[in-house]
Amino acid sequence: MEQLLKKFNTLEPNRGFKERSRSFILNSPQKGDLPAGAFRQFFNIAQFSAAFGLVAIFIFLILGGLSFINKKLISPSLLSGLDSQNLEKEVKNLDIQIQLSQAQYYEDSAEAVEVALKAASGELDKAENRNQEINKLLDGLTL
């Protein structure tokens, strides 16, 4: 039996099958292989992403630089003015300052007027006294 079984060892597959199968298998990709052109595709995607990223960074730096220049050199108040709350506070403070200066002005001017009035009333008194003296003198002359 063993000797008969050994005779099967001469059994061979068809040559045509062997060639077809071999060629097909060796022209197939292995599991884990990247498909053809995958590296190129990956490179293209990476290139585009890198370019896009650089442009974004560039735009950010330009805007940041312009903002810095605007804030620090050209118009320091402009950016702070963009804040409506700050602006409102500033406006309110400005209003109060104006009112206070007006009150001060009114107070100062009232004192000046008072002084002037007093001075004027003193002059009037003097003029009244003079008038009385003149009347007395005229009365003396006429009598």
Partner: protein
């Protein structure tokens, strides 16, 4: 085992086609015979053999040397391919499908007609055995593998292989002598 097999395997794992081609050339007849004697159909044997080597090439990167010969890995793939073929529509193949040309490669000159008859009878008897009996009979007596190699491909100990070999040979002889090859196939998957 072919000369420099480990180097060829190493190269094939990295996708070297020539290296795998050498392994393919060496192991194709062995795997084909193993499958053919189990399925008893040339066309199906070719299809399954192709599947085995295609799967081996595809999964070559994942191959790990576990101390067994490379052939053990291929036989394991082949065994699973045959089992899968039984589970699909190809189940219960009639032995009548076996063509007379199946042994065209075997020398038929002179007094070999009697041997041809005996071989044909054995070929029809082998698929009647249990799967593990078939495996051991083919690997041990047709392919002349060592018990260690068979143990590696079947995931069993060498002692177990010797025991299976003894029982398989006895059952094959019984079936052969009793002529119980009427086309009924008993397959234990």
């Amino acid at each position: 085992m072919i000369e420099g097999e480990k180097l060829h395997i190493k190269k094939a794992k990295k996708g070297n086609k020539e290296a795998f081609g050498l392994l393919y050339d060496y192991y194709l007849p062995k795997i084909y015979r193993y499958i053919f004697l189990k399925v008893s159909n040339e066309q199906e044997a070719e299809d399954l053999t192709h599947e085995v080597f295609f799967s081996a090439w595809r999964n070559m990167r994942g191959y790990k040397d576990e101390g067994f010969p490379f052939s053990s890995w291929l036989y394991r793939i082949a065994k699973n391919a045959v089992i899968d073929s039984y589970r699909t529509a190809k189940n219960n193949i009639s032995l009548s499908k076996t063509g007379e040309d199946d042994f065209k490669v075997i020398d038929r000159s002179g007094e070999n007609l009697d041997i041809d008859f005996q071989l044909e009878k054995i070929k029809k008897t082998i698929p009647l055995l249990r799967q593990d009996y078939q495996d051991v009979i083919i690997m041990r007596f047709v392919e002349d593998l060592s018990h260690e190699e068979i143990a590696g491909s079947m995931g069993k100990s060498e002692g177990a292989i010797r025991l299976i070999q003894h029982r398989a040979l006895k059952e094959l002889k019984d079936l052969y002598e009793n002529g119980n090859t009427n086309g009924t196939i008993i397959k234990e998957v």
